[in-house]
């Protein structure tokens, strides 16, 4: 709806817009410039950036195990993402296309399971692993992450697939393709946007997890970034410059994905993909 605004209304709107932008972004801005600020000036209540120095980053990389945490996070998130996509795409396809009894029960249980509190699963899994002598390894953590990435992915894909014109695969079948060929040549191109969305969220959820790594990871060298930042507080007292440098690096992969793939993000976010 187009309407002409009075000058006063324009100024009012501009003020509100600025307020929303500051409210949402100022903490991120403060995080970034605190990480880059020269350490003697860290506690200056100065809102403009600088004086710049990389000393916090040097400490982060030189004196803490942050590089290890970061590589652990990359490893775990990628393994989780690959497993999630490989398992959930065929599963969701079968849930939409097959007439197998109990398929709605599976869909419903998946949505139900996605609402579970992380602790409800992490506590018994940990106690089981400790008693079985199989305490947390990174591969184990990646598999445990499937307990929330899989329900979310199956649920998202199921919702997307319902709306896709799968009838055209029948045309491919009539043309003599096997079902598997029809899937690869006809279906995969249609579903790829949905698969991109699921890939992003599997990665985001695995990358951001704190609860499961807190409970399942006992060895410092196996910590992921979120749990690793807590370790940095514990070990080096609270050094806000170093922590903000680490927090910035922990956010960069997600912010980069968000900036370049925002349209895939928005569909998932609006379905409640982040708890």
């Amino acid at each position: 709806m187009k309407r002409r605004r009075s000058p006063a209304a324009k100024i009012g709107l501009a003020a509100v817009v600025a307020l929303v932008a500051i409210y949402a972004l100022f903490p991120l801005y403060w995080m970034i410039i605190s990480g880059l600020r020269d350490r003697p000036h860290l506690y200056d209540p100065k809102l403009t950036p600088g004086p710049f120095a990389l000393s916090s980053y040097n400490t982060l990389f030189g004196l803490t195990d942050f590089p290890t945490y970061f590589m652990n996070s990359v490893f775990v998130s990628i393994i989780t993402t690959i497993l999630t996509v490989l398992i959930s795409v065929p599963m969701a396809y079968a849930l939409v296309r097959s007439q197998l009894p109990g398929r709605m029960l599976i869909v419903r249980s998946m949505l139900f399971a996605y609402m579970f509190p992380a602790l409800l699963l992490a506590l018994p899994i940990d106690i089981f692993l400790v008693r079985a002598g199989l305490d947390g390894t990174l591969i184990g953590l990646s598999v445990v992450y499937l307990s929330f990435t899989l329900p979310l992915s199956v649920w998202l894909l199921w919702s997307f697939f319902k709306g896709f014109p799968f009838a055209i695969e029948e045309a491919a079948l009539v043309d003599g393709c096997t079902r598997l060929q029809a899937v690869c040549r006809v279906i995969l191109p249609i579903i790829s946007p949905a698969v991109v969305t699921v890939t992003i969220f599997a990665f985001l959820l695995a990358w951001s997890d704190f609860v499961f790594s807190l409970i399942l990871i006992t060895n410092d060298s196996q910590r992921t970034v979120p749990f690793g930042l807590v370790a940095i507080i514990d070990m080096y007292d609270t050094d806000w410059g170093v922590l903000m440098a680490g927090a910035t690096l922990a956010s960069i992969p997600l912010i980069a994905l968000f900036m370049f793939l925002s349209r895939y993000f928005v569909t998932g976010l609006s379905m409640g993909a982040v708890k």
Binding site: M1, V17, S147, V211, P226, F258
Partner: protein
């Protein structure tokens, strides 16, 4: 199917019985082969879900009936003993009330803030898409990052917020040090982090409200506020209900943000049920007691989830 088509189809079947019978037979064999493929597609996911979700929940329920002094000591069956102990512990009820209050207050504030921001982002102005992205940014951050950034901003000795208070000549506040300030800080950060979910969902809903409704109301002389109360809110009531239920379920079981900001302190002032379950298990090694708290939460939340499924049944139509 229109009647003529049915007649033609019936006629064809009468004329060519052999053809359709063989076609049907072929469909059946394809169907069987496909059944096998579909089962193969489902099996890995179902197995993973059983191993990482179903069995742990069963194991948590099992553990809640046993008493164990540590992770490795032999558990002793105590029946409902852990539950009886839990229900007679005043701390459980305080934490339960804290969880309820935390979810109600944060969901209400998320709705107010989220809807207000959505209304701003629905206006037309230069750079609207950019601001829409910016307004969502907090929601994609890892909880740990959000918690640490706000801990730094609200730090009692060097934080920017207290520096601002000092500059304005106001008394300094120890944001995480006392009962009410700790709760206010936790609630503020939670709303900052999760209100964008309301914004994005409500914004999508706003685009479905027909413009004619607003135009008609405008002709009747209804002001902005009136239009919002009498058109926008009633039309988007179902959207709001989904938001409130989903966010309520998620907020009730939040562990990480409170744990990271205050650890449930000072002196258990900001402890909720998930923190109680964690503390029982890992601080006092009362595995059964921790499992009992987790199961109680699960039971309570299952009620809320059933309500969600009842109000918003899954649509299987394609």
């Amino acid at each position: 199917m229109p009647p003529q088509v049915v007649q033609v189809a019936a006629g064809a079947r009468r004329i060519l019985p052999g053809v359709t019978a063989s076609a049907r037979r072929r469909t059946r064999t394809i169907g069987q082969r496909e059944r096998g493929m579909f089962i193969a597609f489902l099996a890995p996911g179902v197995l993973v879900a059983i191993g990482t979700i179903f069995l742990p929940v069963i194991y948590a329920i099992h553990l809640s009936f046993f008493k164990a002094e540590s992770f490795i000591s032999t558990p002793i069956f105590v029946g409902l003993g852990n539950y009886a102990q839990m229900l007679s512990d005043p701390l459980f009820w305080i934490d339960f009330a804290n969880s309820i209050a935390y979810s109600i207050i944060t969901v209400a504030l998320q709705v107010v803030v989220g809807v207000a921001v959505a209304m701003v982002l629905h206006q037309e102005f230069v750079g609207r898409n950019l601001l829409r992205g910016a307004a969502l940014a907090p929601y994609i951050l890892p909880t740990v990052v959000a918690a640490f950034v706000w801990k730094w901003l609200l730090d009692a000795s060097h934080g920017l917020v207290d520096a601002g208070l000092l500059a304005l000549g106001l008394p300094l506040v120890d944001w995480f040090g006392a009962y009410w300030t700790a709760w206010i800080s936790i609630i503020f950060v939670s709303v900052w982090l999760w209100a964008p979910f309301v914004t994005i969902t409500f914004l999508a809903g706003l685009q479905t409200v027909p413009d004619e409704l607003y135009e008609a109301a405008e002709l009747d002389g209804a002001g902005r506020w009136h239009r919002f109360i009498h058109i926008t809110l009633p039309v988007l009531k179902p959207v709001l209900m989904v938001i409130v239920l989903l966010r309520g379920i998620f907020m009730f079981s939040k562990f990480d943000i409170i744990w990271l900001l205050t650890g449930g302190g000072p002196l258990q002032a900001t402890e909720t049920l998930p923190i109680l379950a964690y503390r029982k298990t890992f601080a006092t090694f009362d595995v059964g007691g921790g499992a009992a708290v987790a199961c109680a939460m699960f039971l309570f939340m299952s009620g809320a989830m059933s309500l969600y499924f009842y109000l918003f049944p899954l649509d299987d139509s394609q």
